[in-house]
């Protein structure tokens, strides 16, 4: 079913923003963060205005309401991702979720000589924690290369790398290339060789239904802010088997069972990893975002975004001097289109696009190893989501063509 984009746009107050230079905002920086529908903003406001209270161990009405809302959000979000509330650990985002796997699971379960497999297209969030662990514990980190013609993972190299690996950490979708990795195949091969699997779904979750139970991954990291939710929250989805193997990471209140001056015992399950005052407003906001998203089929969102991205890619290819990194025409690609102009430097291009009201991201996108593989220091990246329109893409292409003609 086609989405009613006009009515969707009406849910996002920011989309009518006029920039200081008088231009209408065209927001094409969705891979960095998405905008938030009014209902998400309102739910957080309602929390602060009517029932703000610390959660857990609640013995008054407000605390009870806040705790209930917090736990209902967990249920809602867990269900959205095809898992149980007990398998969802709230974190501050995908980055903290991956650090939690490193500190809370790998630290306790991997040993010197063990192998972790990454790919060249990982975000720094899925590289640096493993490099640090590698330094500390003598773990070997391997990088699966990408084919720089097709921009896809070298699956032969993957199969070689995974043979004696303990953990495979792969991004569902590249935030730079928009390429969606063959995660089902990656999971299947990893399992064949007995390796556990962490999926970085920061980019995948806004574009595709992530069904944790069906995928049978061990860990999945997600950020709320890229999928209509607020800043400051995300989660780690973790299988019950891996959860059992985990030990404490950050410690303090709430995650304990009993504290004495002699020592402490900890809660079990997700509670062991959620210490301190919870991100209450954030969880409630994310719950509202997931509810908002649930009125659509993720497949429809993907198709809509893909259509714009594919068209934009096609038109960009017609502009002399523009080179695309990735393959927006691929049916599985997400809405991220990375490109460079051969003579207009990327920061300059960003400025000139901004002058037209177009918000695109420019830089290494926290993926320097991928930049190295592509042989460029940075790219410009336009990334689309549910509320973007064909008209926006058309005006973007027309402005880009104009800029290229005048500044090349």
């Amino acid at each position: 079913m086609a989405l009613d984009i006009n009515s969707i746009r009406a849910d996002f107050p920011i989309l009518s923003r006029i920039l200081p230079n008088g231009k209408q905002l065209v927001y094409f920086d969705n891979a960095a963060t998405s905008q938030k529908p009014q209902c998400v903003i309102d739910e957080m406001t309602r929390y602060y205005e009517t029932y703000n209270s610390n959660a857990h161990r609640a013995n008054h009405t407000l605390a009870d309401e806040a705790t209930t809302a917090l736990e209902n959000a967990r249920k809602e979000i867990a269900q959205f991702f095809g898992t149980k509330p007990g398998n969802l650990v709230y974190t501050s985002g995908a980055t903290e979720a991956i650090n939690l796997v490193s500190y809370g699971w790998a630290k306790y379960n991997l040993k010197e000589g063990d192998v972790i497999v990454l790919t060249e297209m990982e975000h720094h969030a899925d590289i640096v924690p493993w490099q640090e662990l590698s330094k500390e514990k003598g773990i070997e980190v391997r990088y699966v290369p990408i084919n720089t013609e097709t921009y896809t993972l070298d699956m032969d190299a993957f199969e070689v790398a995974v043979k004696d690996a303990s953990l495979v950490c792969v991004t569902h979708t590249s935030n730079v290339l928009g390429i969606r990795n063959p995660i089902e195949q990656i999971i299947q091969i990893s399992k064949k060789y007995g390796a556990y699997i962490l999926l970085d779904c920061a980019q995948g979750a806004p574009h595709e239904k992530i069904d944790f139970s069906a995928l049978k991954a061990d860990f999945i990291a997600i950020s709320a802010h890229k999928m209509a939710g607020p800043t400051g929250i995300g989660c780690l989805l973790v299988s019950s088997e891996r959860l059992e193997e985990m030990g404490p990471f950050m410690t303090g209140g709430s995650m304990i069972r009993k504290v004495t001056t002699e020592g402490s015992t900890f809660q079990e399950g997700h509670a062991m990893f959620e210490t301190g005052t919870p991100r209450i407003a954030e969880a409630i906001g994310w719950g509202a975002a997931v509810k908002w998203l649930s009125q659509f089929e993720m497949k429809d969102i993907h198709d809509h975004v893909h259509e714009i991205a594919a068209w934009t890619g096609k038109e960009m290819n017609k502009i002399p001097g523009i080179k695309i990194y990735g393959d927006p025409s691929n049916k599985n690609s997400s809405g991220a289109v990375s490109f460079l102009h051969e003579t207009i430097q990327s920061q300059d291009l960003a400025f000139l696009l901004d002058e037209g009201g177009f918000a695109v991201r420019t830089g290494h996108h926290c993926a320097q190893p991928l930049m190295d593989a592509l042989g460029v220091p940075s790219t410009n990246r336009a990334s689309f989501w549910i509320y973007n329109t064909q008209e926006e893409a058309e005006s973007f292409i027309s402005h880009l063509r104009n800029v290229c003609e005048r500044f090349a």
Binding site: A55, H56, R57, A58, N59, T61, A63, D64, T67, T68, E71
Partner: protein, 143 residues
Amino acid sequence: MEGASWPTHLTPIIEEFKDCFDSMERYELLFEYAKKHPSSLPIEEWNDKNQILGCQSRAHVKCSLDENGLFLLRAGADAQIVQGLMSITAITVNGMLPIEVAKLTPEFVKEMGLKSSLTPSRANGFLNMFNRVVSEAEVLSER
């Protein structure tokens, strides 16, 4: 909902609560029920096995069948509100067939005007105890 979801011998107690002037009076009444628990579990028998987890106060439950194969609930909690609710629960379930007990819902607490005792995050004292009773009844009915 069709019909009451509790045994008829509970109705007079519910009425008693409904007749209270305000919630303070209801809680006074509940405190009285806590004192006249028909089968309270003495503190000596509180142990890790019969402890209810997730409670903010200490609460213990022991379910068994009497010589006639009928349900016997023994419960003890240091919070009087939880103990009062368990007392009423015991009055309700003691002497019932376990298979009947297994079908019970905590609906009656709402009817008594003590709804706030039921919200899962707060008084999980009582709700957790109640759920334990129901699941033990299930097990006992399968014997």
